[in-house]
Structure formats: structure tokens, C-alpha cells
Subunit: 262 residues, 4 copies
């Protein structure tokens, strides 16, 4: 049923003990795991959702990895924007098909991927990253995820500003957002939406100060707590421990300077 | 700069006292508000982000409403899935360009709009709603938001199942999800993703029981708390009161029955 | 059964529509309410837990108010420390029978009452408050709650320090805690516990800076979120809205200066 | 300054790497730790708050352990009520000097200690525990903490009810609270306060059903989330992970049966 898998496809093999393996499919390859050997040829004969067994008889399922699976399993060297936050940010930025968006700094590309998905094949993400190694990592990740064609990566220090004008939205992820907010304002269209993330309250304070000096309205600060439950119907309760903090999210909307409009 | 506004466009007029007006633009129309009269002809002469003044001299800004603005301001007769939840659900369902998704029950269309955005112009949302009046309301809302072409609304009781097979993901929003989960399983492709929302713990328990009887894996239950802060840099702190609860979110992935794959 | 009520006793009359009346009992007095007239003579004939009816036949119950009932219903002119926080603070300060504690600024006396309870009749709370009117209000409240004998109220600006030495614990509740922390250190015994509350992150930052300059260890910052549920067994779920923030709580333990102990 | 330490006293030795040792003082005893040897004779020469050094020169401080220190470091064989919850419960139960309280099941004695503190030397906690080994453990813990004289431990299955009548408050901590609530009602005085804790939503539902069948009013369900912050003034932010759940807390107030009072 459904899709046929072929070499080069990525699958997630999900086993009953909650082990999961993210694999690029190759012919005649065997995967050695603590659950036994997995013969990848067997995967080609089956399809997503179907059962696979290791040499030791352990039962697993063939899945197509979601973007969340990719992000949470990727090689990363930076703090990433977690899916719980990135999905909300993309929505607050109102990113939609055909939009032109700036993402900076790109880091491992997790937020960039969420934005690239949202702009669709007719949109564009201009992704600025000053560190060559991260730009390469992001490029590699976005290529693997099939999103690189929607993204233009620029290895560049943003202190000189952005090449684009009138972008629909801009996401800023740097340790000192306040130093770049004037450049962000310049790149945004009238009514364009801005977002940034800060792990500390001190950074939020500095960022707010700068936002209030510039023609931004609808300035908002949010944080989110996501709590998982043990999925046991007879003993439904939250898990014992949870993520306490990822980052504060700050949003604002660009408006025009007075002199320009009155 | 940027877009030129024309009759029929929707704008959000945002004033400094936090009053906001969502308006369908018409020539020669005047809007009477507690802040004074707004001459809409003035809006046509300006563009998004620019300043507008009421007859009483109150200053506001012309914005293009986001999907969140639309959802939070729409005429609704049902409990809606809030943006904080709907953005996370769409991400957990891994909805992307070109996907075929089932959304049921549609209600006022808030979740449907988020899904329709995510599938892009090449994707499709099959939206089931048994109550004629809600189907009409959803159609009207989705039309206003420019998303109706991606959505097929079906006025139908889902107890007989869905017309579609092998859909990429399915979102179920009814008071008794457990009664329809077998039908959802049938409609999903292998590896397809399922989500539902329940306001009460009792509903979560019943839903989990049913999910565990069927070939679903990766069953997860989440809740989210979003806390806004007062955006005052010198006195940064959360607001006094916040939303305590919207709904529990339940996720699962369809796998095949054993006999089908071994 | 149990206690007999007499003139001067305080009762809480709790009705089925959730109306509650905190009353000082008097002979031959009638209470006029939206639920009808309550004849207080009837209360004397009954006891705590028993049913009382208004002239309109509305059913209520006679209760002895808890300290929480008193605090949440008292005449107040200041922001108070809420019971969810004050009970935790008293425990973190390890307040127990016989302890000598400083409380400053006293405000309406809510935290002072919690501390006074915890020190028992053999302990003492030295309560500093610089505004005459609040000192009077606190005195009146603590008298009503039967705790005034454990409390010595001093109408005093604390910038000159405290009269007491070697107190077991100290609670500081002023807008600028950092200006008084050296005085607090002086008043505490070795190993004595310090707590303060701040509504904003900026205040927390300033307070932490000062605490780190002085010989304090075990510095901790906490916040608490208390979420009530609708007590409906068939539809168990949190309420719709909750308190998002009261104050950050900061704790520290005094240790001696190096020169004093080595 | 302050207290002089003597053999048998308990101290908490707190080191700069956050290692902490809870020690019963003995003459001529040496404590071997990963930080080097601690000569306890040195502790007697100093007092609380003063500096102590290991043989390896590591610096620590002498503290008197708080009840929280004791509870979090005690030998336990059961799930305990955490201080964040126990302090709130004691306040909601309005426990005060001289009160007579029932605590059941006692487990390791953590909640019992909090209640014993609150009733003072003139009050009493009647502590029921059916498992001999736990009763012994609780007795040992309460003795160590100097609270045993306020507590009467009874090794008893509570299905036959309690010996006491007209108690001021009752705390119930068993896996199936609903089976004992009628016995709790009988033991409480009119207006007496009841509390129980349940880890799962299913238990809360069953407990609420039973509470609603009996003459209880003011039924409330709460949960608390306590979030610690990293105490760094320049980078103030919550820690990465926190406790997600301990238990739901349920409260109710006993009122009399109708026939008894009208």
C-alpha cells in the first residue's frame, strides 16, 4: 500500500522498546543494532507502516521520519529552536505560501526548515549565518530534508544589514538581538512581522528596550511549557520530569516612521 | 511601499489603546468607533504599516490580518482549537506541501485553516462536519481567508467512515473520539499520523483505551501552557492571569495489522 | 457537637451558590444578603458544620474561617503574599515553634500571620513596617486572627537596621530588597535563613547581585504555578483561567565572614 | 555566636561543589568523603554558619538541617509528599497550635512531620499506618527530627475506621482514597478539613465521586508546578528541566448530615 521505498529514501525504524533508527536506505546493507541485525533489503519489500524484524526477532515498524524526527535526531552543534516553539513562531509570523522570509542566524537549520516548509515551493527563505561551518551544516541538513531549493544561504555577518527589502517576516536568533533590530526593521515590509528568541530574562529586557525605540507595535513576549502525559488509560498522569525552559519568544510588527506616512 | 490596498481587501486597524478593527475595505465607507470616525478612503491612499488617524485624531496603524488575527476575531459558535495548539498539532502531524489530510469535525474552521495553509495549493484537506450550519460557517470563514480552494467540505456523519483512503494525516475533533478511531485508522496510510484533542481527562482515558486496541504506535499525550509577559523592559514579569487549559492533545501513528505485513 | 459559638467569634457562612460571608457574631443581629436575611441568633444555637437557612430558604453552612479565608477576605491596601507562596516560604525558612523571626515590610500582615502561626506561642515575630497606616492595619488584622501576642510591630524604616541579633530567619518584602540585604545579614544568626519576594525579573537580578556580594550560600530562586481543576468527576479538567504570576521567591542562608571563623 | 553544638546534634555540612553531608555529631569521629576527610571535632569548636575544611582543603559550611533537608535526605521506601505540596496542604487544612489531626497512611513520615510541626507541642497527630515496617521507619524518622512526642503512631488498617472523633483535620494518603472517605467523614468535626493526594487523574475522579456522595462542601482540586531559576544575575533564566508532576491535591470540608442539624 501507499509509497514504495527506494534507495536514498530516509526511513525511521521504530522498535517496541522505543529504540528508533533514522536510516538512509541502501541496497544490500545491514544495520547492526543492540536489537539484532536489520536487513535493509527487507525494508524495500515492504512499505511505511509495515512490520520489520531484526535477526533476533525483535519487532519494529517502518516509518517515514517527520520533520520533528529529523530535527530531534540531527547532528547539531548549536542550541536549536525546539518544535514546540518553532511551530508557534512560524504561526505568529503568519508565514504562508509564497512568502519571502529572512532567517538569521541559521545554526543547524532547525527553524529554517520550519520556515521553508511554510513558504512552500513558491516562497523563499533568505538564511544568514556568519559561521562557515554552521552554514555548511544547515545546507547539508536542509538538503537531506528536501528543502534546500526554497532557501538561499548567505555566509555573512548581519551587522551590515540584509540584502533583501520588504520581506514578509524575519526571524532573528543571535545572542545579542538588540544590536541588529534596526537592520531587521529596515528589511521588513510595512506591517511585516518580527520574532526573536532569548534564553535569559536579561536578553529579553535589552531586546524590548531596543524594540520600543523603533517603530514597532504589538510587542509581545511569550514562553511555553509543554507537558507530556504517560499514555496509560488506567493511570493517566503527567510524566515525572519535563522541560522547564527553552527560550522566551518575542514578537513585534513593523510600522512606518511617522515622517514617511503623514 | 509594498502592497497597494484595494476594495475587498481585509485590513486590521490597530490603535494605540489596543483597540483593533478587522475591516473589509470599501470605497467611500466610514467606520464609526469609540475613537472617532475612520475614513476608509484614507486607507487606500496608504499601505500596510502606515499611520491612519480618526476624526478625533487618534493614531492607528494599517495592518494585514494574520491567520491568528482572523481566528481570534472570527464569528464562532464552537469551541475552537487555539493557535498555540493548532500550530503544534500541524507540526506533530508533519503536514507539508501536497499532503492529503482529513479534518473532522470542522466546527468554525480554525484548525482547518491551519491545515489548509500547511498543505499548500497542491494539497487538499477533506473536511467533514455533520452540522449543516457549522459547515456553512466554516465555508464562509475559509473563503474569507482565501483557503477554500484547498478544502473539500463534506456535510456528513463520520460514523460511516471517510471516503478517502491512504491520507497522510487525520485530525479528529469530536466529543467522543473513541467512537471513530477505527474509521480513522482505515482512512490513514501506513505510517500516517493521527491527532485528536480532548478538554477532559476522562475523554483522554477513553481515547487512549481505543488507540491501544488498534495498530497504532508512538501514542503521545501533551498539554501546553503559554504564558505572556508584560513587555516592559524595566519591570519584566508575566501577566497576572493566563489561560489555564484549552485541551489535551493526543497523537498516534498508524501501523499495519500483522497479517497484512508478515 | 464540638465547639459552641459565642458573641465575638468569627464565622464563615458558606452558601450553595458559593457566596460566603465572614461575620463577627453578635446577639440579636440580622445580616441582610442577596440570598435573604440571616438571623445570627440561629448560628448560636448551632455549631460549625451545621446548616443555616436564610429568610428566603437558601441553605448555607456555618464554618470557622481558616487563615486562608481571613487573608483572602481581609481589608488590604497592599499587594499580599498569597497563601500558595507564604506556606512554601515559611517551610523554606524552616520556621518552627519557639523561633525568633523578622518580617519586613509587614503590609497588611498576611505573611506575618503565617510566620506567627509557625513560631507558636513560645516564638516571636518582629514585624517592621515604616508606614504608620499599614502597621495599624496589620495590628488590627493580627488581633482579629488571635496572633498579635506573638508579634511585636515596629513602625520603623529599616535602612538603619534591625534591633534584633541572631534571628532564626528573616522575610523581606520591599520594592528594593537589594538595599537592605546587608542589614538582613547582620540580623541573622549563623546558618539563619533569608527569603524575599519580587514581582519582576529586574528585581530578582538586582537582589541576586547583592546576595552574591555577601556571605550567603544556597541561593535559590523559585516561582510556583498553582492550577485548580473543576471538581467534576465525569469531566475532570483544569479551569479555564488561572493566576499566571504572583512573585519570584528568593532564598539564601547566612554564613559567617571568613575572618570570623578561620 | 549562637548555638553550641554537642554530640548527638545533627548538622548539614554544605560544600562549595554542592555536596552536602547530613551528620549525627560524635566526638573523635572522622568522615571520609570524596572531598577529603572531615574531622568532626572541628565542628564542635565552631558553630552554625561557620567554615569547615576537609583534609584536602575543601571549604564547607556547618548548617543545622531544615525539615526540608531532613525529608529530602531521609531513608525512604515510599513515595513521599514533597515539601512544595505538604506546606500548601498543611495551610489548606488550616493546621495550627493545639490541633488534633489524623494522618494516614504515614509512610516514611514526611507529611506527618509537617503536620506535627504545625500542631505545636500542645497538639497531636494520630498517625495510622498498616504496614509495620513503615510505622517503624516513620517512628525512627520522627524521633530523629524531635517530633515524636506530638505523634501517636497506630499500626492499623483504617478500613475499620479511626479511634478519634471530632478531629480538626485529616490527611489521607493511600492508593484508594475513595474506600475510606466515609470513615474520614466520621472522624472529622463539623467544619473539619479533609485532604488527600493522588498521582493519577483516575484516582482523582473516583475520589471526587465519593466526596460528592457525602456531606462535604468546598471540594477543590489543585496541582502545583514549582520552577527553579539559575541564580545568575547576568543570565537569569529557569533551569533546563523541572519536576512535571507529583500529585493532585484534593480538599474538602465536612458538614453535618441534614437530619443532624435541622
Amino acid at each position: 500500500m501507499a509509497d514504495t521505498l527506494k534507495p536514498g529514501d530516509r526511513v525511521l525504524l521504530s522498535f517496541e522498546d522505543e529504540s528508533e533508527f533514522l536510516v538512509d536506505l541502501e541496497k544490500d546493507k545491514k544495520l547492526h543494532t543492540h536489537l539484532g541485525i536489520i536487513d535493509l533489503n527487507e525494508v524495500f519489500e515492504k512499505g511505511p507502516g509495515e512490520i520489520i524484524r531484526t535477526s533476533a526477532g525483535k519487532k519494529g515498524y517502518i516509518l517515514i521520519p517527520s520533520l520533528i524526527d529529523e530535527i530531534m535526531n540531527m547532528k547539531r552543534r548549536t542550541q536549536i529552536v525546539y518544535p514546540k516553539d518553532s511551530s508557534f513562531i512560524a504561526m505568529m509570523l503568519d508565514v504562508k505560501e509564497g512568502d519571502r522570509i529572512i532567517d538569521t542566524g541559521v545554526g543547524s537549520g532547525a527553524m529554517c526548515a520550519v520556515l521553508a516548509r511554510a513558504v512552500g515551493s513558491s516562497g523563499k527563505v533568505f538564511a544568514y549565518e556568519k559561521r562557515e561551518e554552521f552554514a555548511k551544516l544547515a545546507e547539508s541538513n536542509l538538503t537531506k530534508w528536501g528543502l534546500i531549493e526554497r532557501v538561499t544561504i548567505k555566509v555573512r555577518d548581519i551587522s551590515e544589514g540584509f540584502d533583501e527589502k520588504d520581506v514578509d517576516a524575519l526571524f532573528l536568533d543571535v545572542p545579542d538581538p538588540w544590536n541588529y533590530i534596526d537592520k531587521c526593521w529596515e528589511a521588513l515590509k510595512g506591517g511585516g512581522r518580527f520574532a526573536t528568541v532569548c534564553p535569559t530574562t536579561n536578553q529579553v529586557q535589552e531586546t524590548l528596550k531596543k524594540l520600543q525605540e523603533l517603530p514597532f507595535i504589538r510587542i509581545e513576549v511569550w514562553e511555553s511549557l509543554f507537558r507530556p502525559y504517560k499514555p496509560v488509560p488506567e493511570r493517566l498522569r503527567p510524566v515525572d520530569r519535563m522541560v522547564a525552559h527553552t527560550a522566551y519568544m518575542i514578537f513585534a510588527t513593523k510600522v512606518c516612521r511617522r515622517e514617511e506616512t503623514e
